[in-house]
């Protein structure tokens, strides 16, 4: 499309300007996606070069090093100990011993089982003592997968440490050659609270993240390629094994097998996006509006209004949401009140038990989410509104701008600029807003047309609540839950990347002046 210069752009009318911006936005999406792929390609190219360089360095260190260095290739830490850095050397050596011991005792076993995820499942075996057939349990697929992943982690950590050990020798050699003193163990310890204090601070948190966030995610990604479910739990009833891309095919159905899941997935994804859009922007604009009302000059009792709203943040969500959901039940307070007043003749089914009124529950969750979300946005907006330089309004007033113009020309652009990244994160976290949906409706009303997909999907179900439903109960299909989880990740990642690359205001902080 035609690209206008700044002067040409200024000459356009308002509608044209908007249209132009909109077109530019969509025109830049392919470019953004393209540059994403380029970036990925570049990443792998750099990675390849790095690895090649590392290997070359390992070889040259070996050939150019003295006998201490050469021994360190097999006995880790030997060089360090021989050169007087006992603390470092001992740590290297202990790590190597632990690693070899682990690999011999357990690691090798788990690694060898990983390709099959277990060979012997639970089976009946004749027991001579009891004179009856009893169930004998064999391998445990779950443990094999889990410990297999851990072993891979461990091997990677070992390779990294080994490389570190080699590098250490080279650095020491260089230092000695140039006549420097090597750091003693005491120096090492001291630097842990000084220059390298970050290592001390990060050790524990990163360990926690590695074990309780990274490892489970890798495990669950792998589960998407197995047939792990309620009837194949890997130990008690049957082993599970690798299933390749079968589950992704079931979910997205690109070849054969009907489109039960893909239709359901499409429906739920659409509603998830609609929900996230409305939940984010209704809250945003109404929250800004409320903040402006409270902060307007001449309005009294500012603190009281604010405190009343903030109550909803203070009360745990499960109480307020569950209670509100029951208020709107068929025999709840709202219906009781409306019946008493004579405004309606029969109770309204706000949460819709049948498919034909699926719209009402959907509108209800969005409206109640406004009730939940406005206070939070009000707080954020209040902080930002107070930071807008007052002289901007002053000069606007002198130029004769009315309040509406002041809002659209100063307040709104400023707010949008500051809160751009926040809007993005709040959109993606709304996509995964489990609490509001699950506590209000539990996904109801049931979507009958999706009944052949697992998890009894309802009209207000988000992908995340669907995922949760699939993982509970006897019919749990963990592999399907994993597939949904991966797809949620893909959707969130694509949205984030496109928005980050397309919106200039997020990238250039200097643009707004």
């Amino acid at each position: 499309m035609k690209k206008y210069s700044d002067m040409e752009f200024l000459r356009l009318s308002k509608g044209q300007k908007f249209l132009y911006k909109l077109l530019r936005f969509f025109a830049s999406i392919p470019g953004a996606i393209g540059s994403l792929f380029l970036a990925i390609g570049r990443f792998f190219k750099d990675l390849g070069l790095r690895i090649g360089q590392e290997f070359r360095e390992i070889v040259t260190t070996f050939t150019g090093g003295d006998w201490k260095t050469k021994t360190s290739y097999f006995v880790m830490g030997f060089g360090s100990i021989a050169r007087g850095q006992v603390l470092r050397g001992v740590l290297f050596l202990v790590f190597e011993i632990v690693f070899i011991f682990y690999m011999v005792v357990a690691g090798g076993h788990w690694m060898s089982m990983l390709p099959s995820l277990g060979k012997v499942g639970p089976h009946e075996e004749y027991s001579q003592v009891l004179d009856a057939y009893t169930t004998v349990y064999g391998d445990n697929s779950f443990k094999i997968l889990l410990y297999g992943v851990l072993t891979v982690f461990f091997i990677v950590a070992f390779l990294y440490t080994w490389r570190l050990n080699v590098k250490q020798n080279r650095i020491s050699e260089d230092l000695i050659r140039s006549g420097h003193r090597l750091k003693s163990g005491k120096d090492d310890l001291r630097s842990l609270v000084d220059e390298q204090f970050y290592k001390t601070l990060l050790a524990l948190p990163l360990m926690g993240i590695l074990i309780f966030t990274v490892m489970p995610i890798i495990f669950m990604i792998l589960v998407a390629f197995t047939n792990y479910d309620g009837t194949h739990d890997g130990y008690n009833n049957a082993l599970f094994g690798w299933a390749g891309l079968k589950n992704f095919n079931t979910m997205l159905s690109w070849s054969g097998g009907g489109n039960v899941y893909s239709a359901t997935f499409g429906e739920v994804l659409t509603w998830t996006l609609i929900w996230a859009f409305f939940a984010t922007f209704t809250n945003y604009f109404l929250g800004v509006f409320v903040a402006m009302m409270i902060n307007k000059k001449g309005i009294r009792l500012k603190k009281v209004w604010r405190t009343i709203l903030v109550m909803t943040i203070a009360i745990p969500q499960f109480i307020s949401l569950l209670y509100v959901s029951k208020m709107f039940a068929k025999n709840g307070i709202v219906n009781g009140l409306l019946l008493d007043l004579g405004w309606i003749n029969q109770a309204i089914d706000f949460w819709g038990s049948t498919a034909h009124n699926a719209l009402l529950p959907r509108v209800m969750v969005i409206v109640i989410n406004i009730w939940i979300g406005i206070p939070y946005l009000m707080l954020i907006a209040t902080g930002i509104l107070m930071n807008i330089p007052a002289d901007l309004y002053e000069s606007a007033r002198i130029d004769g701008a009315n309040p509406w113009q002041q809002f659209t020309k100063i307040t709104l652009p400023y707010m949008l600029f500051i809160t751009g990244p926040y809007l993005l994160t709040s959109f993606t976290s709304n996509m995964n807003n489990f609490n509001v949906i699950y506590l209000l409706t539990g996904g109801a009303p049931i979507n009958a047309s999706a009944s052949s997909a697992a998890g009894s999907v309802g009209y207000t179900d988000l992908l995340i609540t669907w995922l949760f439903k699939i993982t509970t109960g006897a019919g749990a299909q963990y592999y399907m839950a994993s597939v949904i989880g991966i797809l949620v990740f893909v959707v969130v990642a694509v949205i984030s990347l496109v928005v980050y690359n397309v919106l200039p205001s997020i990238k250039n902080e200097e643009d707004f002046q």
């Binding site: 779950f142 889990l146 609270v193 000084d194 220059e195 204090f197 970050y198 601070l201 524990l204 948190p205 990163l206 926690g208 993240i209 489970p216 669950m220 589960v223 009302m293 307007k296 209004w305 405190t307 009343i308 709203l309 903030v310 109550m311 203070a314 009360i315 745990p316 969500q317 499960f318 109480i319 307020s320 569950l322 209670y323 029951k326 208020m327 025999n331 307070i333 009781g336 009140l337 008493d340 009730w371 206070p375 939070y376 707080l379 209040t382 902080g383 930002i384 809160t419 990244p421 926040y422 995964n432 489990f434 609490n435 699950y438 506590l439 995340i464 994993s482 989880g485 949620v488 990642a493």
Partner: protein, 289 residues
Amino acid sequence: MNELREKRGMGLKASRTISNTIIYILLVLMSIIWLIPFVCIVLQSFRVESTWQVGYVVPKQWGVDNYIALWNSDFKTWYLNTFIIALVVSALQTVIVLCMSYTLSRFRFKIRDGLMRFMLILGMFPGMLSMIILYRVLKDLGLTQANAVPGLILVYVASSGMGYYVSKGFFDTIPKSLDEAARVDGATRAQVLTKIILPLAKPIVIYTILTAFMGPWGDFVFAKYVSFGTSSGMNVAVGMWNWLTPDMINQRYTMFCAGGVIDALPVAILFMCLQKYYVEGVTGGAVKG
């Protein structure tokens, strides 16, 4: 000329009065909407004549029967569980979050950018996905059902390093020249943190404690998963959620209201007292991210 100006002034004043009146009306309406559920829940917790859901708000017969029934139920255990979890988690999580955010704000080391990008990507995976495996692992360790409390603490604390954004945003606003001045005077990095930064970061420390306390206090999903079916391992949220399932609601509805009041009171009071710091954290750190 004078007259004209006066007239215009009058018009401005009148229009301001009108708009202020409209705003007051809107604010009063909003306050009513925002308070109604809480007023209802308190009123219904004192209802004696029936335990099921009814269509009216004001009880016909007042009494504290529901609170007595609450005292005689498992609610005590749940409450204690919730309290222990929230207390321990808020202490440990605060330490971890502050370590993470201070480090990422102040140190420039080789893997810093990669680390932050990596955690951003990790955050895009739905956390619920990890529940299945974490549950199985905790079960193997014997930390589920009746022993759910230590298991929950472990999981909450271990993954808390990811939530560093808000306090990092705050640390970024503390001038670095303070650090450098102290370093010149011979302080180690550890001393800079404890003697200089932490006293200045009081608002964000309190914000972190508060949010770390409120998180597990109201957590529902993972607690439900881990304490599955065993009353003694449940927290208040899971236990009371069961009271509102279709086959329980008719006996337990008013008890739920009473329990809700008891459960919400301490956090609400805590929150109201520390509101100032919460606002500071939300407006200062949350937006910058």
